[in-house]
Amino acid sequence: MNERQIQFFQYLFVLSFTLFDLAVLSWIGRLIYIALQLKDTVNGSLGIAIVAGSLFLVLLGVFHYLFWGLKRAKEQV
């Protein structure tokens, strides 16, 4: 596998993780939408969603920090 192919798959890897994370976030968003529509424990649902949503955003942030950080540090060599 040459360098270009490796880079392509690395971008695919980071994209997959990002899409997975966004899918979970949109699922949490949908649960909030249902809670609002049914007026079903809206406050509790919002509380859980804020905690869980922030966590997934933090995980996404860590992964991107690692990916781009290592890449930049490699180019600095």
């Binding site: 798959f9 424990t41 995980l59 950080g69």
Partner: protein, 449 residues
């Protein structure tokens, strides 16, 4: 043909990756056969319905939910223990963190799968995603397990990067490509190491509350109901303590197997088993304390619904399981873990095997007796005996765990090579610098200087 790795200092860690072990195909065949049989049993269950299991009314939760709680509990071996050891800078952690982290990732998936096995209509699982409501603790579970799984996978992957880069130097063909992609351009520069350490440190802090919340939420699935002996405020911490307890036992067993199979005696030394044995002893005492608190409170309350469940465990239908659990979790491991003479590899492994059986029984007798003795005099008492379908699927779960571990061992080192190297080169320096910081009685002298 992969490039020669034998001249490397930690060649023994790379051997299972570059040299196929003799037992690989026979073991793979055996595991796949067990999994295929389990898949066939699931096919029967899917076609004929949950009637092929031992579950009935009112006992609608049996082996599958027991296994779900058990496997999620074992998952605490990894991330939580590894994170705590990293945060406390325990130098002896180095050879065991990866083994522990991998256990977490493998068993979390298997634990989650058991919930799906319990569904009569698996095709309706999409409804959880489409129409789920956060009013239900089951949704809390789905959310927290997904978060824990994601965080654990990331926490396993980040410290793997330098090792993948080492493997990249020796691998060719598809392996070379795979390692090239996953090493994310790692060259081991100072800046890269700094970024990596920052991420590992941050994740170690992050996964501890996630891990604790996961098992608390698993406990909430029970304690948020009004079933007798489930509606208890102590269930959250009781489950977390039990999870760490069973996780440690699982970790010791896996370490012993890997030590023997892959000849890792130089890495997984008796002192590691000794230290983990001490942690196991502490958790055994904690578990006993929580169990006493839980049962004594129920007994003193003397509420009729709870007492039916209580006596079914103490002297009734489930007494055998209950007392075997007490023997396995407390009475028998105690002498093995208290005396240093026994707290060696064999002693801790025997204690861990007993505890694994005991903790599985604990999950079983939390679930089944409460379901079999529902609150209210009008409801009939139930009985539960697991069918061969449930036993087969349980065997399939254990086979799947071994399979995942086997495949992982063929791709990645089970002991962190770079951390082992760092330990050899820098441990004395790191520890000396740390001790220097808190040398007793010298703080005042330093300030005066």
């Amino acid at each position: 043909m992969d490039r020669d790795f034998r001249h490397e200092a930690d060649a023994v860690l790379m051997r299972p990756i570059f040299e196929r072990p003799k037992y690989f195909y026979p073991l793979l065949g055996f595991l796949l056969s067990v999994i295929a049989w389990a898949a066939y049993c699931y096919y029967l269950q899917f076609n004929l319905g949950l009637g092929v299991t031992g579950m009935n009314q009112p006992v609608s939760w049996g082996f599958y939910v027991t296994n779900f709680v058990f496997f999620i509990g074992i998952s605490h071996a990894g991330t939580l223990i590894s994170a705590i050891l990293r945060m406390t800078q325990a130098e002896w952690r180095r050879p065991i963190t990866r083994i522990a982290e991998m256990i977490t990732v493998a068993v979390l998936g298997i634990g989650g799968m058991n919930v799906l096995l319990d569904l009569g209509r698996i095709d309706r699982v999409a409804n959880v995603f489409m129409y789920g409501r956060y009013q239900s603790p089951l949704l809390w579970d789905a959310t927290s397990i997904t978060a824990y799984m994601t965080a654990s996978a990331l926490y396993l992957f980040i410290p793997l990067i330098p090792d993948i880069a080492i493997l990249r130097q020796h691998a060719t063909g598809w392996r070379g490509g795979l390692y090239g992609v996953l090493s994310l351009g790692w060259r081991g520069t100072e800046r890269q190491q700094k970024i990596l350490n920052r991420c590992i440190g941050f994740m170690a802090v992050l996964v501890i509350p996630i891990a604790i919340s996961v098992h608390t939420v698993v406990a909430f699935v029970f304690s948020m109901t009004l079933q007798p002996m489930w509606h208890s405020t102590i269930f959250g911490p009781y489950f977390v303590a039990g999870a760490i307890f069973s996780g440690l036992a699982g970790l010791i067993i896996v370490m012993a197997v890997l030590r023997w199979v892959f000849h890792l005696q130089d890495y997984l030394q008796p002192i590691h088993f000794n230290y983990l044995g001490l942690l196991l002893l502490v958790m055994s005492l904690f578990w006993f304390y929580f169990t006493c608190a839980e049962y004594l409170t129920a007994y003193f309350g003397n509420e009729p619904g709870e007492m039916r469940v209580f006596w079914s465990k103490m002297t009734g239908e489930y007494a055998g399981y209950f007392w075997l659990m007490v023997m396995c979790n407390f009475v028998l491991p105690l002498p093995l873990l208290v005396w240093r003479r026994f707290r060696q590899v064999t002693g801790t492994v025997i204690a861990s095997l007993l505890i694994s059986v005991g903790m599985w029984l604990e999950r079983y007798i939390i679930i089944v007796p409460s379901m079999a003795n529902p609150r209210g005099d009008l409801l009939e008492k139930g009985h539960y005996t697991a069918s061969y379908v449930e036993w087969s699927l349980m065997a399939g779960c254990f086979a799947l765990f071994v399979l995942i571990y086997l495949l992982f061992s063929r791709l990645f080192p089970l002991v962190s090579i770079w951390e082992a190297r760092e330990g050899r080169e820098k441990t004395l320096e790191i520890v000396a610098a740390r001790v220097e910081r808190y040398k007793l009685g010298e703080g005042r002298l330093k300030e005066e200087q």
